[in-house]
Amino acid sequence: MTTSAPGDALSAVSRAVPEGTETLGYLSLANPDLFCRLLSPIGPRGGVLIVPDYSVARSWSVAKERELSTEVARRGHAALVFDYRGEGRSAPPDRPGLAALRQDVATAFETLGSVVPVSARTVVGLGLGGVMAMMALSDSGVPLAVWGGPRSGCEFFSDIMRERLVRQMGFSPVGDTNLLDRVVVDTLDEELARGSVDALGFSIPAVVISEMCAATEPAGIPETFGEQEPASSVADWACKGESK
């Protein structure tokens, strides 16, 4: 066990794991509020940035992130995952919105470069994280793949609202014959007016919803892996940095 952190880490702790070293904390000099998890073997040959899915979909992606980072480390590369600002252990942004989320992706990519100083770098985005990565890093020329997506911002929020509706029905009293109409009208407009929406236990700023739904998706996804694709296949691609 160690309690130090690598490089220019600002505030982090490390512990030994079978794949190498796991470092948890605030690793970015550019944004000291961005929480990162770095899994690195000794002398990594490359670095993989894993861009998580957003908000409630993170529940789906967090297990995939772990699987992928483990597979990547077993192949001798380091893997870095982060929490978007306002989620997990990252502090909220000064001004929530799509720009802040894209900036988080760019910052995490820079952080990977500073803590794993090797030139071989690739990016894997999960679900909506794939779209975020494309928006933030398409100009960088870094090899990028999407796993379990991509979904547009509009699709993403539509899915969440439908699922929320179904769950809310479970809490409604027996005999209510107008559940659907009542639940929909009840709170969503009020929440939007207050500035954030409860998305199955996550708070999504209203401005993020409107900006994402209005955003044009970037064209041309370099590589796409289906949701059921095993992490080992994605890791194979990520550690080669080549096409499937």
């Binding site: 309690t3 252990r89 439908r162 699922e163 179904v166 769950r167 809490f171 027996v174 559940l179 409860d198």
Partner: protein, 264 residues
């Protein structure tokens, strides 16, 4: 900087947490289940407590987030209590979700310096909680409607079918839910309250099962109870919106200060 410092606790670094503040006031341990959903609510509360001069550690429950699964929950809570006390506080309070109430009360029985427990409450066996989860997944899938394709609900026939199923489920769950004073938690609640320690129960769903535990608590020298108006599923993650998080943080922080000034 946020003033948040990551920490690893235990001989094998199995428990991960974030330390916030470091004042000599009260030591507060907040245990979150899922790092993505509970952490924001826990960290908003920890910021508020730190501003009041307290010392806080927000840990991931073993098996969740960054904490390993092979650590006992009670041991993790105990380690976190020691960690917050290291910066000066003489007394400690715990904030846990409903599933950890028993472990928290057990620790309160053995640690004389643990003066208060806040539990975000919905009994584990609450059928309504289970129902909500099952409606959102299994039944929807069984009906051939994946959550992502629920737009079919716009179709009148599918909508009627779904509502029939939902009502039948709700009826069954109502029949299932009797007085459910937990046989383990109940005696521990009595014991902890009798020793002069305080318990704050926070609930979002005012159902029969929740009421049973709250009534049990109130019959035994009574303590505080907060009923929230936010959508709630048994964890801190019920405090999803920023306004709900702020409400939760204000109320709990005030309660902790009151408890900390009170001699045990």
């Amino acid at each position: 900087m946020t003033g948040r410092t990551p920490v690893l606790l235990g001989d094998d670094s199995g428990v991960f947490g974030i330390r916030v503040g470091g004042g000599p006031g009260i030591g507060v341990v907040i245990c979150v289940t899922s790092s993505m959903t509970d952490s924001p609510a826990g960290l908003v509360l920890s910021d508020r407590l730190a501003l009041q001069g307290n010392s806080v550690v927000v840990i991931d429950e073993p098996g969740h987030g960054e904490s390993r699964a092979d650590v006992q929950t009670r041991e993790a809570l105990d380690l976190a209590c020691q960690a917050v006390k290291a910066s000066g506080p003489d007394v400690v309070a715990l904030v846990v979700h409903a599933g950890l109430l028993d472990a928290a009360l057990g620790l309160a029985e053995s640690r004389h310096d643990l003066i208060g427990v806040v539990s975000v409450l919905v009994p584990k066996a609450d059928p309504m909680t289970k129902l909500a989860g099952s409606l959102a997944t299994s039944d929807v899938v069984r009906m051939g409607m994946r959550p992502s394709t629920l737009r079919k609900l716009r179709d009148a026939e599918a909508r009627a079918r779904f509502l029939r199923l939902a009502r039948a489920k709700l009826r069954r769950s109502k029949e299932m839910s009797g007085p459910t004073a937990d046989p383990v938690v109940g005696p521990r609640l009595r014991s902890v309250l009798a020793s002069g320690k305080r318990i704050l129960l926070v609930a979002g769903i005012w159902d029969r099962a929740t009421r049973a535990i709250v009534e049990l608590a109130s019959q035994n020298s009574a303590d505080d109870f907060l009923e929230t108006d936010c959508t709630y599923r048994g964890r801190l993650s019920g405090f999803a919106t920023t306004s709900a998080q702020s409400w939760f943080a204000d109320r709990v922080a005030t309660w902790v200060q009151t408890v900390g000034r009170r001699p045990v």
